[in-house]
Symmetry: none
Subunit: 411 residues, 2 copies
């Protein structure tokens, strides 16, 4: 069975400085060999000049119009954290934080490190608050701690994501009351629920064992929960129903796992693939290549390029690309008999340290794909390739056609 | 007067194998010379990765969004067969078939060969059934035999195309009753009409002279009519109203003739242009060049490339291109003074034998068109041309502009 390995360097795209970019500088013989034999081009993840988030870009790349399907980051983050969301659920991203007696935020991350025991204790506290909320509002809530101070809060019932954040997004300011953003009764109820959770958390968190211990050591207390980025879970047709593609994703980052799950991909983890610029790729690539036997498409998400970019770390970004390429080396022969896509979800230039709106290089290798002149995968070279300039949303239909899975439109 | 000759190789696009494609391999000095002096590019007939039918692709190429105008093959096939459809008419594709006593289909084609006399007799039978239908339902019907066992059935009145096929699409199964596909009263009536025609045909076909003769020889009887692919005739603004272009099409294939007619082109036939891979092009090209004197645009449809592709016949596909090019040779000087477009409506790789979703090469020659580096018309070369990567629906507006016929948008 022919299959596709799709390698995505998150934030991999860059802007040239002193005649080079991380993709151009990286020594990556496997990827560049695939570029030599395949088609290259430039891809606007969403549309020219649009600065994508990783979530909207991934939706587009998986073949879903983000203007139709994107409904706030919260829902995708909750999915990624393993919460089994149903269409209509509303999810928020949360921070555990430290406030002073007047309710002014003094640490938006409560010291950042939250131990597993502390996280569990907070989840217990939120479950208790949830019982009160359910009785009072008929809204059931689920809180799950994710990484460090971060978590997700899911509301189920007659709720809406059209409410404002309580997170002031900076220290020295008070927690904001959540307010409905439209006239819908559900938005009113949701804001009330959020404010009630905020108040109950502040009063009940005094009893946390974690805070007794933290207080005695002079560490920042976990005495507030900040809520932001509400989104509702949309009803999304699976990639199998929409494109006939059986797809798997290998990813360590919660948000990407969430998007992949939302479109019906089976999501896998691999040792070493955590989502930092120090990730190791041997196990992830090994797993991805194994999965190619069972899936039409295996998506491998590499976060490190984006992390290094946000740090302004050119060399670190190059290293991530080089380590991934080295991990591909044992499988070069297998890859040659299948399709390989290499691309990025958006540029994150190390000079800018933020997502930008330029197109990113894209490579499509396959035994029956047109071979163009491009011999190196990078922003400085792919623009002259046979793919021309395409959009992120074109990729999945193109792959479905090569895999022979597309429905014909007409006779 | 400057005019456009538009040569379309149906299914001409291909995928590279062993470093070549039929377009690349074909010796076609006239077309390649036009490529040398003109602009080349790659064209997604509908959109990247979308596998087009010939009908949807032609609609797009003629400047009509197929997602808006495509309403099932039946209507276009009936138009191509010379039936004068009106907006709102519903047309089906039909097979004459053989069923056993229990109504089980034993031959979906009634032996495939239907003599002209037999076809005429069946048309007479259907006219008789039509009188009954008209009396009972107020729906008028028209049946026309096309090629071999195939025909078209047109319903006019308060009818709908939203009914299911009666054709089981395989032997060994019974004719299916047609059922309405939505709650509309017209769909209910249409399904009843179809089922009545099916029943009347079975009983009345016993009296056909053709069946007396066939029965005595042990040949498959013409004792059933199978109906499929219902489509209604949309209201389509003509290419002259929409783009100010007076257009003619020279085509042998009923479906393409139908699409051309639907958009208001005058449709011509030429000796030798039947629609097979053995077609001769001398008369067709001669006629097309003559018509250039009277029309802004002359569209010449070459079916053989698609037929050869469906047969997996690389050499046959090359031959079609080479014969067409040879037929152009006497008119090279005329062509040089006009515009020439060469393209394809979709790829049909000989390795796949089916329509696929890759872009196809496109060539635009004209005395005032940008000359790029491309010297050969093929998938392996046109991607580096000045046209870049365009969509099928872009072609007609581009030609209208070169012809000086476009309306200005704004001041």
């Amino acid at each position: 069975m022919t299959s596709v390995l799709w390698i995505l360097f998150d934030g991999g795209g860059d802007r040239p400085r002193e005649g080079t970019t991380p993709f151009f500088a990286a020594l990556k013989p496997v990827i560049d060999s695939l570029a030599s034999y395949g088609s290259c081009g430039m891809m606007d993840p969403i549309a020219p000049g649009i600065r994508p988030g990783s979530d909207t870009a991934h939706l587009a790349l998986f073949g879903y119009d983000p203007y139709k399907y994107y409904t706030g980051r919260g829902a995708f983050e909750a999915l990624g954290a393993g919460v089994d969301l149903k269409p209509g659920d509303v999810a928020f991203r949360t921070n555990l934080a430290t406030v002073d007696e007047r309710g002014i935020v003094v640490d938006r991350r409560a010291g950042r490190y939250i131990s597993p025991e502390e996280a569990q204790e907070v989840e217990g506290l939120m479950a208790k608050i949830g019982e009160e909320i359910e009785r009072k509002y008929g809204v059931s809530i689920l809180y799950k701690s994710t990484v460090e101070h971060r978590g997700v809060l899911v509301l189920r019932g007659a709720v809406s994501h059209r409410v404002s954040d309580t997170d002031p997004h900076k220290v020295g300011e008070a927690i904001k009351p959540s307010a409905p953003l439209d006239g819908d009764e559900r938005a009113k109820v949701t804001a009330e629920v959020i404010n009630e959770i905020t108040a109950r958390f502040r009063s009940l968190s005094k009893e946390l064992e974690a805070n007794k211990r933290r207080g005695s050591k002079g560490e920042p207390l976990i005495n507030a929960i900040l809520v932001r980025g509400g989104g509702y879970m949309p009803s999304i047709e699976s990639i199998h129903d929409k494109y006939k593609i059986r797809a798997a994703a290998v990813a360590g980052v919660a948000l990407i796992r969430g998007v992949a799950k939302a479109v019906g991909m089976d999501v896998y983890t691999a040792e070493g693939l955590v989502g930092t610029k120090f990730d190791k790729f041997d196990e992830a690539v090994k797993l991805a290549v194994q999965l190619m036997k069972r899936y039409d498409l295996v998506f491998l998400h590499v976060k490190g390029t984006d992390s290094a970019s946000h740090d302004g770390d050119f060399r670190g970004k190059v290293d991530v690309v080089e380590r991934l390429d080295a991990a591909l080396r044992p499988y070069e022969a297998v890859l040659r008999e299948n399709y390989v896509v290499v691309t990025s979800d958006h540029a994150t230039p190390v000079s800018v340290r933020e997502h930008t709106g330029e197109p990113v290089p894209v490579l499509l290798y396959g035994p029956d794909v047109i071979r163009d002149d491009v011999t190196k995968f990078s922003e400085l070279t792919c623009w002259r390739g046979a793919l021309g300039r395409i959009k992120g949303i074109d990729i999945t239909p193109i792959l479905a056609s090569y895999l022979g899975l597309s429905e014909k439109f007409g006779e």
